[in-house]
Amino acid sequence: MQKAQDAQLITRIAAQDQAALRGLYARHQARVFRFLLRLVRQEAIAEELTNEVFMEAWRHAASFEGKSSAATWLLSIAHHRAVSSLRRRREQSWNEEEAAEIADAEDDPEVQLQKTDKASLLRRCLEALSPEHREVIDLVYYHEMSIGEVSSIVGIPESTVKTRMFYARKRMSELLKTAGVDRGWP
């Protein structure tokens, strides 16, 4: 139902129907914006990239074949926009970002207390992952994408999707272990 409605909207966008773009935006802006914000970490840049994503959807709606879902299509555009933006900014390397320190001697008591909470620690570890690891985790856990869909969005083989997710989870466990939480895996 959702997929059919999205496909209908995209067909109308291909005919330059602005109301249809409003509809598609209303349905997917939160997903796209959050996906981008998690990668680029700055709201202003995430908003700019979100607009670029929907602008590209406006321009290239006619090329949407409906083989994938609209969400997969939009996130695929968003992925490429985010990668370009990160490379352009050179603030962090897409592939080689150093994981942030979990422990920080300067933390105030409240933060120290939060760090003892396992859930908070887990979230801090998620934040400390490299963008590519964080991206695959978000796509699988939050956006509920299948292996094939992640492959399509990120532009990597399905086998790499599986190993990337595996290593992302391993890295998260290592970071937790460093912070004093041994999950017993790997």
């Binding site: 409605q5 209908q8 909207l9 109308r12 005919a15 330059q16 129907d17 602005q18 109301a19 249809a20 773009l21 409003r22 509809g23 935006y25 209303a26 349905r27 802006q29 939160a30 914006f33 959050r34 914000l37 998690r38 709201e43 908003e47 979100t50 607009n51 929907f54 602008m55 406006w58 859930a119 887990l122 979230r123 998620l126 934040e127 985790i137 978000d138 699988v140 856990y141 939050y142 509920e144 994408m145 299948s146 292996i147 869909e149 083989p157 086998s159 790499t160 599986k162 190993t163 990337r164 997710m165 595996f166 290593y167 989870r169 998260m172 999950r183 017993g184 895996w185």
Partner: protein, 227 residues
């Protein structure tokens, strides 16, 4: 070492599939493979709890994020290269209504808040539009707010639809009264509709207006639009 150069044990291969198994997005072949393995290696089930924990915190972290700032959609629309004649032709066919209905069809809390914000802005704009309409009607220098389209055909009305009105309900209503949208949406979500049939007497026109107004599930506002 790259992500693809390692040879993995069967257990590791199964572990790789578990995030999708937990999320219910694994295809049938892989799901059967995982379930067969879990049946013989119950100790691996502990992994499922770890994954649920990771999944929960990932969802929480994402849901804590904002959505696009107010005005972002307006900025996007303002930057679009619009093919106006084509767009208007489609709007005049009434297809634009579907997107209006879709805008209010999301159920996520943030989306609802966004929709409520948009609705509030539209209602405010509608008040201004109606006020201007009444002032013009009273000073004898009336001119339709919706423009000059639709001069041929039957009586016309300004109409606004309820937030809950589905596109099917709107289309059905228009078919019931044999009308079409000739202009809009204007500020406040107001459209101008016109009957396809010829002129009607004032009493017949008022009867039709009342008939439209009675459809409160679909119609929020209906006013005669005199030429």
């Amino acid at each position: 070492m790259s992500e693809d150069e390692t040879t993995f044990s069967e257990r590791e291969e199964i572990e790789m599939l578990l995030p999708w198994y937990v999320g219910g997005t694994l295809d049938a072949t892989d799901r059967d493979r995982v379930e067969r393995y879990l049946a013989h290696h119950p100790e691996v089930r502990r992994q499922l709890d770890l994954i649920r924990e990771e999944r929960h915190e990932t969802i929480m972290a994402n849901e804590a994020l904002p959505t696009t700032p107010a005005g972002a959609l307006d900025r996007l629309l303002a930057s679009l290269p619009v093919d106006r004649p084509h767009l208007w032709r489609r709007l005049l066919d009434g297809e634009g209504l579907r997107a209006v209905a879709l805008l209010f069809s999301q159920s996520a809390p943030r989306s609802v808040r966004f929709a409520a914000y948009v609705a509030a802005v539209l209602l405010l704009a509608q008040g201004v539009a109606i006020g201007a309409f009444m002032l013009k009607a009273n000073d004898g220098a009336y001119q339709t707010a919706a423009g000059r389209d639709g001069s041929a055909g039957g009586p016309s009305f300004f109409i606004a639809f309820t937030d809950a009105a589905s596109s099917a309900a709107v289309t059905g209503l228009l078919q019931d009264v044999d009308a079409r949208i000739v202009d809009g949406p204007k500020p406040g979500g107001i459209y101008r509709i016109q009957l396809r049939t010829g002129e009607a007497s004032p009493s017949a026109e008022e009867a039709l207006r009342r008939r439209l107004a009675e459809r409160r599930d679909v119609v929020r506002l209906v006013l005669p639009a005199k030429e």
